[in-house]
Symmetry: none
Subunit: 205 residues, 4 copies
Amino acid sequence: MSQPRFQRRKEDRPQEITAAALAAFAKNGYAATRVDDVAKRAGVSKGLLYLYFKTKEELFKSVVRSFVIPRIDTLIRSIETSDMSSEEFLRGPFLEFARKMPGSPISVIVRLMVAEGPKHPDLVQFYWDNVVSRGLGAIDELLRRGVQRGEFRQCAISEQPALFVMPVVFAVIFKLIFGRQSIDTERLIETQIDLLITHLQGPAT
Amino acid sequence: MSQPRFQRRKEDRPQEITAAALAAFAKNGYAATRVDDVAKRAGVSKGLLYLYFKTKEELFKSVVRSFVIPRIDTLIRSIETSDMSSEEFLRGPFLEFARKMPGSPISVIVRLMVAEGPKHPDLVQFYWDNVVSRGLGAIDELLRRGVQRGEFRQCAISEQPALFVMPVVFAVIFKLIFGRQSIDTERLIETQIDLLITHLQGPAT
Amino acid sequence: MSQPRFQRRKEDRPQEITAAALAAFAKNGYAATRVDDVAKRAGVSKGLLYLYFKTKEELFKSVVRSFVIPRIDTLIRSIETSDMSSEEFLRGPFLEFARKMPGSPISVIVRLMVAEGPKHPDLVQFYWDNVVSRGLGAIDELLRRGVQRGEFRQCAISEQPALFVMPVVFAVIFKLIFGRQSIDTERLIETQIDLLITHLQGPAT
Amino acid sequence: MSQPRFQRRKEDRPQEITAAALAAFAKNGYAATRVDDVAKRAGVSKGLLYLYFKTKEELFKSVVRSFVIPRIDTLIRSIETSDMSSEEFLRGPFLEFARKMPGSPISVIVRLMVAEGPKHPDLVQFYWDNVVSRGLGAIDELLRRGVQRGEFRQCAISEQPALFVMPVVFAVIFKLIFGRQSIDTERLIETQIDLLITHLQGPAT
DNA sequence: AATGAATGAGTATTCATTCAT
DNA sequence: CATGAATGAATACTCATTCAT
């Protein structure tokens, strides 16, 4: 009776631990998080944690890897498979994605990258290759497609996908530092995207 | 040999120490920086450091205070005293300021705020009050002035000074995490500011 | 070589550590005792010591608690259960107890109380409640019983049990400060107790 | 005008410093007292303090020496020069002396001896030679005189002057540890001295 | 596989002592 | 003489990591 439950448990362990680690890192940052706490959060002994992750650093890298990739994959796939117009996509799914960012687990990872990046060059590289580069690439693809289809004109904006990512990163940072009592980041994101699209569409002739 | 072991230079010490601390924090982050290292960098004994700063935390706060305020003060004063048109100011002094940001000491402090903010709420508050709030206020004032003078039209953009700050923060973060091999942040800043101004000036009739 | 580096002996550790701490405190006093030394004496790592005692101070308190209480309990119980006459008890078990005091672990604790008391008011209170008050109370009870039984007359002496404790404390202090080459404290204790009993029994009619 | 005042000042410096040190030691004990504090209390710079006392330890020894000797000298001289009967002296000047002890500066020195004695054998020796030995000797002399004059009978008590010192030391210790809320030490001292004298005078034949 | 007792290197902080002024 | 800035050795405490059970 109890067997199958334990069986299943074993499979999930690593994920449960990285989830606990993410929560712990989110609360206290990497350096101030004790491995003990992560283990306790995961309902696991310290020894077992070390069975899955050789060091605290490896655990950290695992956290970054396992929580960001799926998110970015989803975005990219939706761009690739979508049959919306570029504008529709930007005002629809992309805006939705952008709005959810601040406050999501990924935002925590931004904090970790900012804080710990300099000490983990390989992780930075990984993050660049798998998250930033691919994310920017996807938006670039979206813009390129818009230009091809005649929706957008080709200009400085259509060549800098970072302009679309910018407000998201900014909002994430703001939320992280100042919490919710700061500025209206949602409106900021909307305004920026609207501004960009308006410009890409050019003066209505 | 030539250097006496004791040197009395009461006046200069605090600044030398905060400068050294900034450099150390910049390299390793707050938690990973050893007080010993800061002292060594400053060419000072650990004991003396503790004579001026009661704790590592206080040293950290001092660093934030002494390096950011002057910078932001300069910007604000130049806005207040400038007799340029708003556009001229944005394309001139402000753009210059924005370009210098990534790689400057302030950029390091952004990293510290992101990483350590959650553990130093009073510092975050201080930063908000003295840096962010005043900085945004100054730009707001500049935009308002532009509207009053008829240079700009009143719209969503003229009400969100953060749109101007956004690319700077974004560039800072990018440089911090990915170094120089990432994206062309200068061009990004320019494009964004140009975009905003163009929009504020409305369709050329 | 023969000793494994890790030994799991959870049960015994706290006692071993407090014993080592008592010895160390006895030798150097509280302030001058390094936690490192206590750990070494106990054949234990510093980390483990801190697993059982959160701070050096808590270790100190534990020492006081665990070495004095049993001693005083024994005395009190023997008073309560004894069926000797009061005189017999005082000249027998009590005198024995008094003689053993100087040089025993408790004597060291007196030193700690004198030296560290002012900085640990709660510990002083604890010591008063659990040791001094109860000890004096027990002797008071013994004297009261003697009066009731007609062995002793009621007088200033029968009301001040401290007169019996006095020579013990004095002897302890003397031994602590001056070692054995000072005065004959055993004889002092005997003389005092004899003197008190003689007086309590009144003039032989 | 100001010259003579400074002149005088210089002479008194060491005493002012030892007085300040006594006060500081009294409050916090030897180990916990910072040289800085002593200097501040004495209204003197740290450097000057070190001009008079080579080390903290030497300062400590100076404190012990300079505050106890005068006290004990006074007692001894009054014994030597007194023309009272031994009983009168014991019930008069000696009792007065004994009563004043707890709470006086000397009581603090007892604490210091108990706490720091083990680490300063030479100081203990000094204390024994100059204070304890001479003090006990003086009382011994007083008792011997009483026996010679036929006031007292020769017995175990007349040979153990410590019996007279005992309640004083005990009272001092008690006050030091438990403050004033403990037991009536004055009455204890009186009772003990009365008891001893009564016994020395023997049964009224 | 799982536990948590045990380890020890690493770090912030204090304070007696020195010495340039 | 007098100052107090400057030094650095000493020490309590933490926490990633190991390993007996």
